[in-house]
């Protein structure tokens, strides 16, 4: 019987990890559909950012309530996962609490896991209250309608269940230990479990043993299910926050990249010796300016899209969104991810080749009205707790609208033709630039 269980455990573990790994590879492939951008420089600064922002959660606490609760959940998750290692060894080798040889330290560990688990539970319940009862604005805005709202709640329910199972498992263990049942002879501090364990009083020992095993199995299968849910949810940030902060832009936020493809053409235009009738090389592919679809974005922007956990701090600080415009930086990231997933599925269904589907990120997901509402103020970039850059996507899409489609709003076209004709955005003569000097 025990062998059967061990084999069964190995199979579940194999399926859980294997399916997750398959999706990780898909994720990687989708991200690498983006254009190349070099982020291999300044590695010391990058490690430092990752340590401070992802590991150290430094940007989370700028909103203290959510920030501190999030740190409980984060610490809980990271630390309690040490326990998962023990569960895996126990499951594969039929041991019980294999790390208990650590003695008093083990007792201390489990005790602190329990306290953390309780903190996680309370934090998660507060998060549910903030979303569903207090209804904080950024959690009920229109871009979260439907699946994104359900997704967020499922994740929180899941965490409630996992933490409860962990505590119940320990409670049953403590109770069985006190009853002197063999196999349950590991002593550990159980500040929470021992409070819960009296609920088993009066229950037959055999039943509690079954319950303890059930909690154990549900806990580990729950973790595996949750692991695999990540890819299909907004929750990938627990993994991707690390590479995302590492590869994030290190330049001043006001510095927008200069398109090399444009520089080449402009230099050619300004070069008096250039031959205007020279034929382009036969293999030259006309370069597309700006982005109308996910393949036109760079891989860091696509990584950003998968990393976004839809917290909405960006949108809640966006001046356009605050004043009722359609733009929501969070929606820009969600749309980018949704379109990227769609493109990925297209590739899967067509033997590794993308077959044009007459859709694009621009128009089918993100409308020009949203793009033109942006003031490029960088509030969204500054706010993002994991250094996502929605503004760069907005700018790349504006570039496509203007340079490929000449589809700027009329008043902006007027501004641009003024710059072309008289070197200022207004229709004044360049010769009059210094007139202010003699005016009173």
């Amino acid at each position: 019987m025990e062998y059967v269980l061990r084999i069964f455990f190995a199979i579940i573990l194999g399926i859980g990890v294997g399916y997750f790994w398959m999706n990780v590879r898909k994720l990687r492939r989708n991200i690498l559909l983006g254009r190349d951008v070099n982020r291999s420089d300044r590695s010391n600064e990058r490690w430092r950012n990752m340590a401070l922002i992802a590991l150290g959660q430094s940007k989370m606490v700028r909103r203290p309530v959510a920030g501190i609760l999030h740190i409980f959940v984060y610490l809980g998750f990271v630390i309690i996962n040490i326990e998962v290692l023990e569960i895996i060894i126990d499951g594969l080798f039929g041991t019980h609490r294999v790390f208990s040889f650590l003695g008093g330290f083990y007792g201390f560990l489990i005790g602190s896991f329990e306290i953390l688990a309780l903190l996680v539970l309370l934090s998660v319940i507060t998060f549910l209250v903030r979303r569903n009862i207090i209804k904080i604005k950024r959690f009920i805005q229109s871009d979260l309608k439907g699946w994104p709202k359900r997704d967020a709640n499922y994740i929180l329910y899941f965490e409630v269940v996992l933490m409860s199972l962990f505590l119940l498992m320990n409670a049953a263990d403590v109770w069985l230990n006190q009853m002197g049942v063999s196999h349950y002879q590991t002593d550990f501090a159980s500040p929470i479990g021992s409070l819960v364990s009296p609920i088993f009083n009066g229950v037959p020992v055999a039943t509690v043993v079954v319950l303890e095993r059930t909690f154990w199995w549900l806990h580990i299968t729950g973790i595996l299910v949750f692991l695999n849910y990540l890819y299909f949810s907004k929750h990938l940030h627990i993994l991707l926050a690390f590479p995302n902060t590492y590869f994030a832009n290190l330049e001043p936020k006001g510095k927008f990249n200069n398109l090399d493809s444009v520089t080449k053409e402009v230099k050619l235009m300004m070069d008096p010796n250039a031959d205007p009738f020279a034929a382009a090389p036969a293999d030259a592919v006309p370069e597309k300016f700006g982005a109308s679809d996910v393949q036109d974005l760079n891989w860091v922007q696509l990584l950003n899209a998968y990393t976004c956990t839809e917290c909405g701090r960006c949108t809640s600080s966006c001046p356009a969104n605050i004043t009722g415009k359609k733009l929501s930086p969070r929606k820009i990231m969600m749309d980018t991810r949704d379109r990227l997933e769609e493109v990925g599925k297209n590739i899967d269904a067509n033997k590794g080749e993308f077959v044009p589907d007459n859709k694009s990120l621009l128009n089918d997901y993100i409308t020009p009205e949203e793009l033109w509402a942006c003031t490029s103020c960088n509030a969204c970039v500054e706010e993002c707790p994991v250094n996502i850059d929605p503004l760069s996507i907005i700018m790349d899409m504006r570039r496509f609208l203007v340079m490929e489609q000449s589809a700027a709003p009329q008043s902006l076209n007027a501004m641009m033709s003024n710059i072309e004709n008289n070197a200022a955005p207004w229709p004044y003569n360049q010769q009059d630039r210094l007139n202010w000097k003699n005016e009173n």
Binding site: G254, V266, G290, A373
Partner: protein
């Protein structure tokens, strides 16, 4: 303002001189009536401090910032390359400007196209003048007055310059009060990203009204700005709230001119 000297680079070159710094006036500072007053205020301070400076005059043209933010990289790079050619021909090393948009573009986006200069915002430059003792202010006239500072996005978040303008304002002996959204969390005035040159997209409020309300709610008599666009947006916002009699929108340079009694 005949008493103020405003030499051009061409004049300087003709005399065989190289100024300490080039004052990049910008389109707003050259043509916009409100911004011209900021330009003149800054020139007064430069002259008072005895700074050897020059302007490009008719040889200056738009940095290309609004074109770039609107998505027109072609036009931006045309402007940039033309300006760089002129700046490099005059062997310009240091540039100061009162416009954060010009500042950001010259400082961050020109180097990649061959334009490498030490670029300063006028608040940074004025701060060094005060620190070096070349300029001094008496804060007396602002005693007991409340001033709130509006962070321009392209100075603050874009280039993490939050303290230079505030350091200048504290020299005025005024009561510097912060808005709820300030520094990193500062709210845009609504003009950035080429919005200055178009109508806002449909919404339920104008951004400059939202920001002006916040500034007015601090009870300040003065809203200090450090950007000609912010200045226009906030001035309009204060007017829309019919507060122009009680609340003035002034550039940091204009406040310093008042404090120095020029």
């Amino acid at each position: 303002m005949s008493e103020d000297q405003v030499p051009t680079m061409a004049e300087m070159l003709a005399e065989g001189k190289q100024p300490e710094v080039l004052f990049w006036v910008g389109c707003s500072g050259s043509y916009d009536d409100r911004a011209k007053r900021i330009t003149k205020a800054f020139v007064k301070l430069l002259n008072k401090a005895g700074v050897s400076f020059a302007v490009l005059g008719a040889e200056e043209s738009c940095t290309g910032d609004p074109a770039k933010r609107a998505g027109n990289e072609f036009l931006f790079q045309m402007q940039a390359l033309m300006n760089i050619e002129i700046l490099n021909a005059y062997e310009v090393k240091r540039i100061v400007t009162a416009c954060p948009h010009c500042f950001n573009t010259l400082k961050n986006e020109y180097p990649g196209l061959g334009g490498n200069y030490e670029v300063m915002h006028h608040t940074q430059f004025l701060k060094t003048l005060l620190d070096e003792g070349r300029l001094s202010v008496e804060g007396g006239s602002f005693n007991g007055k409340k001033i709130t500072f509006h962070d321009p996005c392209y100075l603050g978040r874009a280039n993490t310059i939050y303290e230079a303008p505030r350091d200048l304002l504290t020299k005025l002996d005024a009561d510097l009060v912060e808005m709820k959204r300030s520094r990193k969390n500062g709210l845009c005035c609504g003009a950035g990203g080429a919005q200055m040159f178009k109508d806002a997209e449909p919404g339920n409020k104008e951004i400059n009204i939202e920001r002006s309300e916040e500034a007015i709610s601090t009870g300040s008599q003065i809203i200090a700005a450090a950007c000609p666009f912010c200045n226009t947006m906030l001035t309009d916002g204060v007017k829309a709230k019919e507060k122009e009699a009680d609340v003035k929108v002034l550039d940091v340079a204009e406040l310093l001119v008042k404090a120095t009694g020029l």
